[in-house]
């Protein structure tokens, strides 16, 4: 009964993937021109280009920003929900709504919020006295901070995911354990770092790995906000592969870049599984 699903994934993911990797060893003329086997030349060309190494670095930075911020926020909110108990249910519902919104809509919405002259964020910051003029922070047009700014909608969209998962995990932390620690005079931070977080380790691992993979693949949310600019400061690997493939029409080079991108993600995911999850070494 597994066969249809296996066949489906083999035909529509496996086979395209094989073609993609095969293309990475060829020099391919765009628009149906000739192809010639060139071994690893595309790989060395990609590794030698600043565009690729820069994009790989930006993908990493983007992923770390997104995952670190939403983990911190998500955990804080999950603890807040737990502290308030069952009465916080309605807030939990409201908190979940961004998860349903399309990334392209979220990107567009935040671009609108962050625009420097008629954007509402800088206007509100000006009204409360943090900024003097509304063009003081150029969220999306200052290359030094743009990579951080494009991450904001991603954080906004999926912090709820982390919160929900951690909240559910927190419900399974045995109350007697916390009570005992409190009687022994442990402070909240001690309880958090010594008891709660270690117990949540498997849950945290799943949440971080899923979100890490998704953040590393982010495409539309960045495309719609900056299209990789200003000055390439937000061009991550997914955007670079897309541009190399569709705009520059170099499938060979794009395939080499994409293959390394995929291998990199796999490697990080495997390392993450072993580092955080440590299957077998914990109670669950």
């Amino acid at each position: 009964m597994m066969l249809p699903a296996v066949a489906f994934l083999a035909v529509f993911v496996g086979w395209p993937l094989v073609q993609f990797v095969r293309d990475s060893f060829y020099a391919i003329e765009p628009f149906g021109g000739g192809r010639e086997f060139i071994g690893f030349a595309n790989y060395s060309a990609a590794l030698a280009s600043d565009a690729f190494t820069g994009a790989a670095w930006r993908t990493l930075v983007y992923t770390v920003i997104v995952v670190a911020l939403e983990f911190t926020l998500g955990l804080a909110v999950a603890l807040l929900f737990s502290a308030l108990g069952d009465k916080s249910r309605i807030f939990r519902t409201i908190f979940m709504y961004p998860l349903m919104i399309a990334p392209v809509v979220a990107g567009l919405l935040w671009r609108f919020l962050l625009i420097d002259n008629f954007g509402i964020l800088n206007e509100l910051l000006r009204r409360v006295g943090i900024l003097q003029t509304t063009d003081q922070i150029q969220w999306l047009s200052n290359p030094d901070i743009a990579l951080f700014s494009v991450a904001l909608p991603d954080i906004w969209l999926t912090t709820s995911f982390i919160t929900l998962i951690l909240f559910a995990g927190l419900q399974n932390v045995p109350g007697e354990l916390l009570e005992a620690a409190r009687i022994d005079g442990a402070r909240y931070t001690t309880i958090l770092f010594r008891i709660i977080l270690p117990l949540l380790r498997p849950v945290i691992a799943v949440a971080l790995i899923i979100r890490g993979i998704d953040a590393a693949r982010a495409f539309d949310i960045i495309l719609i906000q900056t299209n990789g600019g200003p000055q390439g400061s937000t061009e991550t690997l997914s955007l670079l592969v897309y541009r190399t493939l569709v705009r520059f029409g170099d499938p060979g080079l794009a395939s080499a870049m994409g293959t390394m991108y995929l291998l990199g993600m796999l490697l990080v995911a495997v390392v993450a599984v072993y580092a955080i999850w440590r299957p077998g070494s914990d109670r669950s």
């Binding site: 699903a5 994934l9 807030f91 519902t93 349903m100 399309a102 932390v173 592969v241 994409g258």
Partner: protein
Amino acid sequence: MNGLVVRGKTARTILWVLLAAVTLLYGFPFVYLLLTSFKTPLETIAVPATVFGSEFTLENYASALGREGVVASFINSTVTAVLSTVISLVLAVPAAYAITRYRTPGGQVFILVALVCRMVPAIVVGVPLVSLFRDLGIADTSIALAIAHTTLSLPLSIWLMTSFFDAVPDELDEAAKIDGCSRLGALRRVVLPVVSGGVAVTAIFAFLASWNEFLFSLLLTAVRAQTTPIVIANFQTQFGLDWGSMTALAALYSIPVVLLTLVLQRHIVAGLTLGAVKG
């Protein structure tokens, strides 16, 4: 409930205020989107920006819906998402059932492989899929796009359904078999009705994955099968920055799924947390 609940009265008041503030901040972007969509086109880009418009108008909605291809894109998005949900369920339900009932090593390997499939960026399989669908004669159709979207939702669907089937004791199938059902008969008549809630959750996630997807839609559709996210993205290049109509269209596209969240809240939470928390 557990020992994490704070009981002190002052502490609770402070926490409630904190929660209200967080919710307000978190809710603001979408509320602002809605408020902006009812402003006049000029007021949407007025300096200084205001939170509340001075007059209420449906002008932006009228001009957004009046644009060529917008209504058709809504139909395409719906058809694609429904098709993709159906394909995803038809494939995931028997696969997950087999994985939980036969417990072969192959099943465990398959779950792992499916999760790796989820890691593959759309850009990697997207271009080979373009030529594959052209060869199959279904280029630029909703069915082709639905198939592509299913590659994204299928791993999660299998994962979710596996967790739901795991919760159903094997004895139920055994009893059905003694009563003369085949394996498939037991699945259809006895087990599926028990996990109908789980099927609903899986369907919601498959639907959302397709409804919100962008890159496959960009690569695999030209005109006929174009979905709304692409139309939204095209608004800025084709017509300059028409923020008024764009906020209206974005609101129209998001409101159904946001309402869906509120209505099906409990099911969605169950689906999101199930696999992860079991560890």
